[in-house]
Symmetry: C2
Subunit: 234 residues, 2 copies
């Protein structure tokens, strides 16, 4: 299929939400759920849920609802969560450490194999049981270890250079925390966690009502001016 | 306007990207940019950019492009970034600390005023110049301080309880890092950073080609079976 995406971004973004919700239901011992109930819990319509799931070849809902654990495992398979992933982290600052120490990581099959930083002061420091290595060792290290995912947790100004470096070493997946859009080589996928973007969306939502009151007022004034000018034309 | 959103999520999600790109252009001394050029840099079409900007009452592009710094400041205004925000962080684990120490925070007007944790071992520990306070002090503290944004960086199982607590104290905005969807009181907005969701989208993208080869194969087999059954009917 090459590198064109087969399913819309909106659907893909919902997949991890299904996975979370189903895992939650499973942990509460819920065996079956209808698309209607699942929809109510997730603020989606039943038909949206059925459509989303059908994007991936369908999954029988036989009138009496989905089997929770089967659907959870089906979605885990879609998300590629039945694999083991070897992960390296570049950047041992707060974000890099938070990722290294991220609880769910290990139990979901993500194995942090190494962590690198450019700051000599951090080299040798223990992060989640691993000594931080000098960024200068990155190329060598990668040539002798299997790595599936590179986490980029360096400042924006260094991120592309690091991305180029890991892609040259054959990395096919980047989890990027630097606040830039990386230029990717063909065959490499990337997902971003842009903290400041998320925060800015929050401040937008906080101010949305006031903003549109202002915009509506300006539009109204504009209309009055235009009407006034129209009258003068007469 | 109440609490119905005025602009689609997709547009809102692009606003911080415009802001980032324009800030980058401004820092490189670029004074003007056409919607075509901006689009090329951001992987969007020129008309999409013009439409997005028009959602907010329009912003003249007079044939010769946008003035970069004016458009940047217009978008900053839309995003509510010309205000000062008082922030508290609940949870002094890795994520809470990463947020407290997040570089751009202060220069964008976000002031971290207090950080709380339920773990007595962490109380008194210095995080970004602030002593971690006991979660038991949260209610009292909020009743005597102005707080605009509560960052929730606690485990999933405690997140709703904390959210309810801060909403009772009048919080109108939550930046949530716990991997759940919070139930919000009317008038409170929330944006989530779901790290595991982001990681799962990455693993989905890593496995998408193989997944659809498998789905296509299954569909083909299904069709062959149906055709076989059809022939037997004849």
């Amino acid at each position: 299929m090459g590198y064109t995406y087969r399913v819309s971004d909106a659907v893909v973004r919902r997949l991890p939400m299904y996975y979370r919700q189903l895992r939650e239901l499973e942990s509460r011992g819920v065996a079956r759920i209808s698309s209607r109930e699942l929809g109510e819990q997730m603020n989606l319509t039943a038909s949206q849920i059925r459509q989303d799931i059908n994007c991936f070849g369908g999954f029988g809902q036989q009138g009496y609802g989905y089997r929770v654990s089967e659907l959870r495992s089906h979605i885990a398979h879609i998300l590629g969560l039945n694999e083991e992933y070897h992960v390296i982290i570049i950047g041992a600052g707060n974000i890099g450490r938070a990722v290294a120490n991220y609880e769910g990581f290990a139990q979901e099959g993500f194995r942090v194999r190494a962590i690198f930083d450019a700051n000599p002061m951090l080299v040798g420091v223990d992060v989640h049981g691993l000594p931080v290595q000098s960024i200068e060792r990155l190329g060598d290290w990668m040539s002798s270890h299997k790595v599936d995912i590179a986490v980029i947790a360096v400042p924006a100004k260094n991120a592309q250079e690091i991305a180029d470096m890991v892609m040259r070493s054959g990395i096919k997946a980047i989890w990027n925390f630097a606040p830039i859009e990386l230029h990717l080589q063909k065959g490499c996928v990337c997902n971003n966690v842009h903290l400041s973007d998320s925060l800015h969306i929050l401040t937008y939502r906080m101010n949305e009502d006031a903003l549109f009151e202002e915009i509506d007022r300006a539009r109204q004034e504009q209309r009055q001016i235009e009407r006034g000018l129209g009258m003068m034309d007469v």
